[in-house]
Subunit: 351 residues, 2 copies
Amino acid sequence: MRGDGARDEDRVVIRPSPLNAETPESALPDEITPAGRHFVRTHFGIPLLDRGRHRIAVDGAVRERLELELGELSRLPGRSVALTLECAGNDRLSFTPLPTGELWGGGAVGTAVWGGVPLREVLSRAGLAPGAREVVVEGADAGPAEEGEGTIHFARALPVKKALDPDTLLALEMNGAPIPREHGAPARLIVPGWYGMASVKWVTRITVLTEPFRGYFQRDRYVYDYGAGGTPEPVAEIRVKAAITAPRDGDQVPVGPVLVCGWAWSGAAPVSAVEVAADGGDTWDEARMLPASSRYRWQRWEYAWEVRSPGRHTLRVRARDDAGRTQPDAPRWNRLGYGANGVRTIVVTAR
Amino acid sequence: MRGDGARDEDRVVIRPSPLNAETPESALPDEITPAGRHFVRTHFGIPLLDRGRHRIAVDGAVRERLELELGELSRLPGRSVALTLECAGNDRLSFTPLPTGELWGGGAVGTAVWGGVPLREVLSRAGLAPGAREVVVEGADAGPAEEGEGTIHFARALPVKKALDPDTLLALEMNGAPIPREHGAPARLIVPGWYGMASVKWVTRITVLTEPFRGYFQRDRYVYDYGAGGTPEPVAEIRVKAAITAPRDGDQVPVGPVLVCGWAWSGAAPVSAVEVAADGGDTWDEARMLPASSRYRWQRWEYAWEVRSPGRHTLRVRARDDAGRTQPDAPRWNRLGYGANGVRTIVVTAR
C-alpha cells in the first residue's frame, strides 16, 4: 500500500468527505478485521438513523407489501456468516494508466462476522409475485447525482436467485455487536462472494422488479467498461486474488529462510492454490494452503522462502480457484477501474 | 523506489557481488550526482588496475596499431561533458510481469561531469582503415559466460559515426577527480545519449571492425527482445523519461500549493515538454521547464500543484522530446527488461 498517510480511527483515509478509508497494512494479517479498522466506502454523507423508528419497506412485485421494524426483523430465524468483503475499486492504484475514482491501494478488503436474517426469510414473508426477476435494495444514503440533476439514493440489484441464497443476509450485527454507523447501521445487506457495492448499507427499502434495474449505481457506476464499444456489464462476483501480509513491500529481511504468508479469496469458487515466484522469471512454487474455515472467508497461505543472497529481491504471488480462474499479470484495464486482481509483487532487501 | 534497504557507501545495494547499487532517492535531487552516490552496474568483479602500467590497445581495421599509456592519453586535446547516464535496466521493477535481471528501481541514473579525450582523437591517430564499420571497446572486467563455456570480457560496439562524435569520450576524470575504481578507473568510455552499457569501464582495448560485432553483451544481452519471433535489436539511445524528485512516493503533503519537481532527459533529442496529471484521468498540465544547461544532461522541471482536499492523491508525469517521442503509460515489455520508461506515478496523502 502506498500513500499510507492520514489516519482516522485506525484506518487510512483516502478521502475524508464522503468518507473513504482503507484497512491499514498493520491490520491485514488479522483473520477477522476489527470493525474500527475495516475499510469504509461511502458515496454520500453517512446517515444517522434512529434504531427505534427505523422501518424497512418491502414492495414491488410481491404478494404483500411489508414495513418491518428492527424488532420484527430480529425475531426472524437468524444466521451469521464470516465473510471477506472487498471493494470493487480495491487496488485501483495497480491499473496503468490510472483510471479516475477513489484511489484505493490494497486495503479496501476485510473479513468480518455478519449476523442477521437471511434476505430470503423477508422475501418469503412478502411472497414473490410471478415474473419477479431482480431485488433492488436501497440505502438511506443519498446526494446529488454526478451527472444529471436531482438527488439519488444508493441502490443495487441482485438477481432473485442470489437474493434467495441462504447466505445473503439482512445484517444487524458486525463481529458480534450492532453494526457501527459507518458500516451501515442499523441494517445492511451482505452479499457473499460479490464485491462490496452489492452489500447495500443503511437499508430502507427492498423492491422486487420484473425488469432489469436501471439505477445509476447499476448502469453508470460499478460496471466493467472495457471500451471498444462493448456494453458495460455490472460488477458482481469478487475475482480471485492473493494478498501478501508478511513480509511487507519494502521490508528488510534476513538472508536465509523467510516465512511469506497472506490471504487468498475468490467470489466464484473456493481457492484451490496459491503460487509464488521469486526474482522475476516464470518459475512458480506452490504455497501451502491452510484449511478453509468457511466458504466466503479468505484463506491463509504460507510459503517458506529461502533468500540465498543479500540485496534486493522480489516476490510475486497469484491464486487460482476451483473454477479455473487465475490472476492476470496486470489487471484488466477498464474505464472506471474495478476488479483489479493483477499478480501481487513485493520488493524486499536482504542483508 | 521500493525495497530501499541495504546501503553501502551511500548507495542502495541491489546485489553485493557483483556490485550493483542505485543512487538513493535522497541524492536524486542533486543536479550533479556525487561519485560515491552515483549508481554502479557491474557484471563481474571490479578490476584493480595499475595506473602506471595501464595500456590501452587500439587495433583491428586501423592504419597503425597503438598502445597508449595514460600519460600519452592525457596529453591529447581534452574535453569535458556533463551528462546523464542511465542503466538500460533502470526501472526494471516497473515491468509487468517482472523480467529476470537486476532488480533496479528508479535509481540507476545519475549525472556527472566526465573529463577526458574524445575517442575520435585516439581513432584519428590510429587512422581508420577502409571498410571500418564499428568500434568495439573492451573492459578488463571478465568472468565465466552465463551460457556456454570459457571466460568473457565485457565489450560493446559503437557505429563508427557515434565513435567519432566529439562528445564520445575516453574519460579519465569524474566530477573533477580521477575516476573511482568502481566507476571504471583508470579509463572508461562515455557515450552521450546512450544507455550505460555503451560506456564501457576499465577500458583495455579498442578494436575497429569491418563487420558487425557479435559479442555476448552485444547480441545476447542488452538487446530488446520483444518476442514473437522478431530479431532482437541492440539497446542504444536512452528513451525519453521524466523522474519526480519531490514530493516522494508515499509522502505527506499539506492541502494547498505543493511544488512538484524533477528531471527529464532523452538520448535522442532535447526534452521539449513535461506534463503532469493529478488523480488519474486524462487532463495533462504543462510543467515549467528550466533552461537546459547542456545537451546530454537532465533538465529540471517544476509544477505548482494545487492540492484541493485532504486524503490520497496521485500525480503522473511524462516527458516528450523534440523528436516527438513520448513516454508510454506502461513500459514496452521485453524479455530482458530494458528501456523501461512508463509514465511515472507517485501517491501522496494530504492532510
